[in-house]
């Protein structure tokens, strides 16, 4: 029988990172809420974690350790990008990172409800979400393919997100009442 210490560090990194990738991505996106930039930071975080995997204390949870790297990589990325330079200041980013941890159980529950709410979204709207979130289409391309204006497509996406937020909130309130 092999102990965890005997696992090749590279394999350990892959196992740990793959199982936490989504969580780390959500964390980064809360600090820099743009998908492509967040993916770049995720990639840079993966590199940093790989290089430091030898320092990881396996008796402690991986996520908080990885978040520290993600946080610093986000700061670094922000310095390079004029778009994000003035977006959230350092203190606020710290506050968001800390508050996100406190809200973690609620966010988990909201994610459950998101799936239920998504199932109620009309197919046409869900296809638009698929194009935007799954296929990585730009709003311009979606507008183009649907024969709508870019502004109308932005608005349509905004409306769906708003509907989803309301739906989740409604379910949370019902959940609170039942609890």
């Amino acid at each position: 029988m092999s102990s965890e210490n005997e696992i090749d560090p590279r394999s350990r990194f892959i196992q740990l990172f793959m199982s936490h990738e989504k969580q780390i991505y959500r964390y980064i996106l809360s600090l820099m809420p743009h998908s492509q930039d967040a993916q770049d930071v995720l990639q840079e975080t993966a590199i940093a974690l790989y290089n430091k995997i030898g320092d990881y204390d396996t008796t402690r949870p991986f996520a908080p350790w990885a978040f520290r790297f993600a946080y610093h990589m986000t700061l670094k990325h922000r310095e390079k990008s004029s778009r994000w330079h003035r977006f959230l200041d350092d203190n606020l980013m710290k506050e968001i990172a800390s508050r996100q941890q406190i809200l973690s159980p609620e966010l988990d529950q909201r994610r459950e409800y998101l799936r239920e709410c998504l199932a109620e979204v009309p197919q046409e709207k869900r296809l638009m979400l698929t194009e935007y979130y799954f296929e990585g289409e730009t709003v311009d391309a979606i507008a183009d393919s649907q024969g709508k204006s870019v502004e109308a497509t932005y608005k349509a996406l905004q409306r769906v997100r708003k509907t989803l937020m309301h739906c989740i909130q409604g379910k949370m309130q019902v959940g609170d009442v039942i609890a």
Partner: protein, 492 residues
């Protein structure tokens, strides 16, 4: 603006602006102040952004049950920003050394994940693709679709075109020899090379024995003769160029802009003001018919010569033209023609699909047999035909998947997906020099094809297991002629 005066609509609009990266400086400052001043707003912001992030990961939005990872483990470290910005000999050396270590690292990661042991086919190794080749056979190791790696690249004779991963198009005329350091940096040792550099690749650099040329948004041609002397011509936009040795002013970086050549106080000796298309390599071909490709789809300028099973393997969906401006001598049956999301199933595939796919996902897709015929394109229609070919590298025990999309400038008239119909249309729409697989070796099974509502875009989500996936996309070549054909055929 008073923080308390922000109403719900303005708040929602601010959140949308944040996730779209569209906040102005003043709006960003206002958001900062709001989030600091109001803990409820802060929590709302976190909830909203978490939902936004979760949508990227939500399986209900994925047309298939692909377990997507956002990290490209094969190219993990190749994306290190600093490496791309290094310049100078020692830095280049460091970069190459590091790149070698990184490739090794990527390889180890890939091996760990997949058990794959074939060096040749790792995507992370490539920095580009040969998209076109007109040579007389002296370069036996070159073929259309071959991945370009870092290291020495040579073309003995003829012409070729390469697309680097950053979108730079390189056209060359043999004999030519150059060293590829990465997608952002080459060294032309000898011969003729012309580069078209898109906006995202500004900063692309070519060294020659006696020159350094850095792109500033342009198309430029370089040639290096047998003595190592270089000549430059700027076809569009501007470059920064300098001689490594020579007259004082030529040693200094000089901005050379096509539209402002008269501004130069003195013409540097390396600059050729007149463009001679024979003595330089030609301007790279650009596909005017394809507006964009995305995801795991790569387009080539011409069809590969052998498309039999196992002969043209690549982890990408490969798209290429087969026949352009071709007038159909007979009516052509196409399997799919109407906008929609189609799931092609065979009997075996159907069992698996219904067992593994949720009702929600099924509701988003139209399940069809690949032998369906949705339309017949009239005789006399002038069409362009494109093939998408997917024959991924063997990774034992794994299903090979890829998704990608192509958007054409003209309307898509139909898509041929069944193996038999592909076979039947090879003679008509195929490239005459290409050897195609027979109908048993190519088919679509559990694959997804989406035709956009405006019929200009096809999205594909393919999976191969032991055979190759191919579809033929038939696109109108000329709208007016198509309308006339339809009219004469009595369809409209």
């Amino acid at each position: 603006m008073n923080l308390n005066s922000i109403n719900q609509l303005e708040w929602e609009s601010m959140l949308e602006g944040a996730i779209n990266g569209a906040l102005s400086d003043s709006e960003a400052q206002l958001l900062n102040r709001l989030l600091k001043a109001n803990p409820e707003r802060l929590d709302d912001y976190i909830r909203f952004v978490d939902m936004h992030a979760s949508l990227y990961q939500e399986p209900l939005l994925a047309p298939t049950n692909m377990a997507d990872t956002m990290i490209d483990y094969q190219t993990l470290e190749m994306e290190n920003e600093q490496q791309r910005k290094l310049t100078g000999f020692w830095k280049i050396l460091a970069s190459v050394t590091t790149a070698a270590a990184l490739i090794a690292f990527s390889f180890v990661l890939w091996q760990s994940m997949t058990g794959e042991s074939n060096w040749d086919y790792l995507r992370g190794q490539y920095v580009g693709l040969v998209t076109s080749l007109k040579a007389n056979g002296s370069d036996s190791d070159l073929y259309v679709g071959r991945g370009v790696q870092t290291g020495l690249f040579t073309l003995g004779s003829g012409k070729a075109q390469i697309r680097l991963d950053n979108g730079v198009e390189l056209s060359m005329r043999g004999p030519v020899k150059f060293e590829v350091f990465g997608q952002d940096h080459l060294a032309l040792v000898s011969g003729r090379l012309t580069a078209n550099v898109p906006e995202q690749a500004i900063g692309f650099r070519i060294d020659t024995p006696d020159m350094e040329v850095v792109d500033l948004g342009t198309e430029f041609a370089l040639k290096v003769d047998s003595s190592g002397e270089s000549k430059l011509h700027v076809l569009e936009g501007e470059v920064e160029a300098r001689l490594k040795q020579g007259l004082d002013f030529e040693n200094e970086p000089l901005i050379i802009a096509k539209e402002r050549l008269d501004d130069l106080l003195q013409n540097p000796s390396y600059l050729e003001l007149e463009y001679d298309p024979i003595s330089f390599a030609p301007s790279p071909d650009r596909d005017e018919l394809i507006r964009a490709t995305g995801g795991m789809m790569q387009s080539l300028h011409e069809a590969p010569l052998d498309l039999r099973n196992g002969r043209f393997k690549h982890d990408y969906l490969m798209l290429f033209p087969e026949r352009l401006n071709y007038t159909l001598p007979d009516e052509l049956a196409v399997n799919l023609a109407e906008p929609g999301t189609y799931r092609m199933l065979t009997e075996n595939g159907a069992k698996r699909y219904y067992a593994e796919t949720s009702a929600d996902k099924q509701a988003c897709e139209i399940v069809v047999r690949s032998t369906i015929v949705q339309d017949r394109i009239p005789v006399g229609t002038v069409v362009n035909s494109y093939l998408v070919h997917f024959d991924a590298f063997d990774k034992p025990g794994e299903r090979h998947k890829a998704k990608g999309r192509v958007r054409f400038n003209n309307r898509i008239l139909g898509v041929i997906v069944s193996g038999q119909d592909l076979n039947d249309s090879d003679a008509l729409l195929g490239n005459s020099e290409t050897i195609y697989e027979n109908s048993h070796g190519r088919r679509t099974e559990n694959d997804l094809v989406r035709i956009s509502s405006d019929q200009h875009q096809v999205f594909l989500n393919f999976e191969v297991t032991g055979f190759i996936d191919q579809i033929r996309i038939v696109v109108e070549a000329d709208s007016n002629e198509l309308e006339i054909a339809r009219f004469l055929d009595g369809n409209e």
